[in-house]
Each structure stands twice: as C-alpha cells, then as structure tokens.
C-alpha cells in the first residue's frame, strides 16, 4: 500500500519535471541539437557512411537527453525554494529521485525516436532485432537518467556547478564508447577504457539491433547495462537520502 502511494508520487513528480524542465532550450540543445551536430561533423568531415554512424547517434542522443535535466533538478529546486516543500510532503526522497529518473527515462525514449526515425526512413536502415532495440532503449534510458541524478547528489544549490561536473564526465565518455567508430576499430587502450562506459554497451547493442552485428555479445551487453542501471539508481537514491538535509540546511 505504502509502495503504491510512493509510485503515484513518483509519477506526479515525473509529470512536473516534464512540464518544467524538459521543454527548456538548453535541454533540447544539449540533448538533440548537440548530438546531431557531432553526427554531422563526423559524416561530412570524415566521409563515414551515415548508416554506420546511426547506432552511435541513437546512443548519443539517448545518453544526452536522459542525463540532461536530471543533474540539475535538485539544485535548481533548492535554488528556487521549491525543494523544501517537496521534501515535507509524504513523498519520500526515494520517490522524489525516482520521479526525476522516470522523467529522464520517458523523455530519453521519446526523443531518441527522432534519430531512430531518421535512420529508418531517411537512410534506409532496417530493424534487424527489434526486441534488442526495445530492451536497449529501456535499460539505457534508466541507466543514463540514474547517472544524471548521481551527479546531482553533490549538495550544492548552484546548477552550473553540477552541469560542469556532468559535462566533465559525459563528454570524454563519448570518445571511449565507440560512438563514432565501431569498437573493433578502436586501439587497444580505447577498447580497455570502453568497458567502463555504459554508453559503450548502448551503442554496441544498437549496432546489433540496426546493423545485425556488434562487438560484445547481446547478452553481455544487456546484463552489463542492467548492472550499470541498478548501480546508478540505487547509489543515487542512497546518497540523496544522506545529502538532502545538507542541500537544504
């Protein structure tokens, strides 16, 4: 019964987040426009087939959109003096953070349909493994939204500090995750580093789903993404429980 209430609270918070944060210019620019520009730079600059880059674009868009607003919601709400009232409602800290993750998840899935549609209809890609694609989108969106809330555990009320931290982590991940080239073409050190990035598995699984081939096995990719997702969500909620008081003190 109590769990059912908290799920309802999470849905209400997710709806609020979607209305307030996900239609803002910076979120759309970083989540959609930025990956499209990077995609364009690689397609036109290096004459790589757009078809080969589509899985990377899909992963990159999902990565940036799902983790775009989640890092700043908590500090933003503390700054705007709305967080204290939220915390004093019957919604638990877990429900509040789960709501933020849910909004990032839903928005990530929704916006990633744009590059997917472009790939399928403009570049003639075919969906080789639809089930793999669906599982990849779901697990990746949870994982990246969870990563976003993990950044926001830093108890500051200055959103730009969190954005700085999140971009310091997110941008380097782009270059070690096989976004712009398949993993098999990466140098040895790149391959070694790539295993620590969840984006690696998203892009690799997207290749399985759209191109019919990948570097890791599908099961390894899905299990690893699941482990990353659980780890990010769980640790984020636990740390938020500890730091929420500090943020409001």
């Amino acid at each position: 019964m109590r769990f059912k209430w908290q799920v309802r609270f999470s849905l209400a918070i997710a709806k609020k987040d979607a209305r307030i944060y996900y239609l803002k210019g910076p979120v759309l620019i970083f989540g959609l426009f930025f990956p499209l520009c990077l995609f364009g730079a690689f397609v036109f600059g290096r004459k790589i087939s757009p078809t080969l880059l589509m899985p990377g674009l899909l992963g990159m868009t999902l990565f940036f959109i799902s983790s775009s607003a989640t890092p700043v919601i908590a500090p933003w709400e503390a700054l705007n003096k709305t967080l204290e009232r939220l915390v004093s409602t019957p919604a638990s800290v877990s429900a509040i953070i789960a709501g933020d993750i849910l909004a990032g998840f839903a928005y990530g899935i929704l916006v990633s349909l744009v590059p997917l549609g472009v790939g399928l209809f403009a570049f003639g890609l075919t969906l080789v493994r639809p089930a793999v694609l669906i599982l990849t989108l779901i697990l990746s969106a949870v994982c990246f939204a969870g990563l976003g809330t993990l950044f926001s555990t830093l108890p500051t009320t200055i959103p730009s500090n969190i954005m700085l931290l999140s971009n310091l982590v997110r941008l380097p991940l782009l270059f070690i995750s096989g976004v712009f080239m398949p993993l098999e073409r990466m140098p040895g050190w790149g391959k070694a580093l790539s295993v620590i990035s969840p984006l690696t598995y998203t892009c690799d699984l997207a290749r399985h789903a759209l191109l019919g081939r990948g570097y890791f096995s599908i099961s390894r990719g899905l299990v690893t993404l699941f482990v990353f997702a659980v780890a990010f969500v769980f640790s984020s909620i636990q740390i938020h429980k500890k730091t929420m008081s500090k943020r409001l003190a």
Binding site: R2, K16, K81, T89
Partner: protein, 308 residues
Amino acid sequence: MACAIQVSDLTKSFGGLLAVDHIAFEVKRGEIFGFLGPNGAGKTTTQRMLTTVLKPTSGTIAIMGYDLRKAPFEAKMQMGVVPESANPYLDLTAWQNLMLMGQLYGLGKKRRRARAEALLAFFGLSDRSRSKTRGFSKGMKQRLILAMALIHRPRLLFLDEPTAGLDVQSARLIREHVVDLNGKGTTVFLTTHNIEEAEGLCDRVAIIDGGRIVAVDRPAALRAALRSAQSVEVVFDRGLDGLESLEALPHVTGVKKAGEGYRLHTDQPGEVACLVADLARAKKRKILRLNTLGPNLEDVFVCLTRKA
C-alpha cells in the same frame, strides 16, 4: 486530549555549531502556537525538523501522535507546510501547482479538483488559475502557497514567517485566513519574529534564543510575569528642563523621552503616577496625558532574549 506536537529533548547541531539545544514543548490541538525568537535563534531549524526537512541530531518529535522517526508518512499526511520564503513552481500555473500538491498528498482527481477550485476562490485567485505563477505578485504567490499547503485539509499547519515582506492588505488577508482556519479546527504552528503578529494571533507562544526555549506561555501570562517592564507615560503642557527630576522619583528605574512626553519605567506604576502629579504641581506644569502601561510582548521578548 492528545497533543498536536510533542517535542522532547530535541537537538540539532551543524558540525560544531549547536543550533537547537535540547528543547522540549507541546502544542495542544486546536491552538495557534507562536514560535518566536531573534534571527539565528533556531526557529527555522526547529520548524524544519518538525516538518522532516532536517533530521534531528537527537530527541523525539510526535505529530498528532505519530512518531516522526518511526511513522513519517502518517505524520506528514497530517500536516501542511508553508516554508520560509518558499515559491510555487514558477513555470506551472496556479492550477497545476495545486494539482501537483493534491497528487503528492494522495487526493483523487475529483477531490483535488474540487479542493483546488474552492481554495482558489477562497484566496481570490480564481481568475488567475490558468496563469503561470511567474507573473504573480508576492502576495498572490504567498496566498497560493498557503492554498497548496491546505489542499489536503491538514489538521496541523506550519507557517514560517507567512507575512514577511507582504504589503499590509496581503498580510492582513493571510492573518484572517489563519484565524478562520483555526476556527475550523486546524492547529497552527506559527514561526515568526513579528511580535505584534504573534500577540494578535497566538493562544500561546514559545520564545527561543540561542537554541534554547526561554519561555512558553500565553502572551498575557508572559506580560504579567514581567513586572519590571511596566511604565508610566506622561505628557506635560511644557517640557521639563531635563530628565533629572523624573529620574529622582522613588520607584523609577529609568526615564526616556517618548515623543512629546516621557516614559518612566517602574514596578509600581500607580504610586509613580501620583508622584508625577505632585511633581507637575511643584513645577507648575499642566498634565495633558497620564497613562500607566503594562509590558507588551515585545518588552517580554527583549527582556528574555537579552537575559538568555
């Protein structure tokens, strides 16, 4: 009757700083309880612990009989909270803000719509219900925040400086609503440093200073306990050459110029009034006004917070 709030041995420290120091008090159901103190005394920290925003370092809190540590969900369902300098969501409309709060207190769709409509009408915001609150005045925002805190008909309402920074009309409107709610059975915990407001609204007040409760009682009882803050106010037709003749009167502990007259502090105002009349005759002055004054809550507050 069980208490609305029971606090015992409550302490909060931030690092090495002891913000709230082993305080204990009770708030009865149905009363307006004022929580007064100078800036930095520990008022807001205490309210934040009572509303689960901060975790106490030690001590216990019970809200409507629910232990806040063991049953926070049940306790939170009983309370509405207006935090200090809170905002509604500026990118949402007044209606959306109310719907969100209704959902966060578990109200069904039909019930929260009915409550929101009633509250918007009650607070005079019906015509702006579909406007984003970014364009609201401070008074309108504060009325909406109060409405948000009342969406689930809480039995206990926490207000932290609810009229701070508001114009006279908005502040008066909020105070009238608070009295009205209390008349309907809502217990109110009012944190404020506006002594006049506390004196006008509260059944009982607690005064906190340096993290410790220095007094808890009815405002009238606190005033009566402070005999030394009684005074005599006198206005003569012409001023005296100095304050010396007034200071020399027996039982007078201090004299101050107060507007066109003088204020003489004493613990025996009746006797001093007679002596002032004698002095006026001796100095050939006419008395235009002579009043004996009891201490107000501000005198009590200043006296207690100075001693602590």
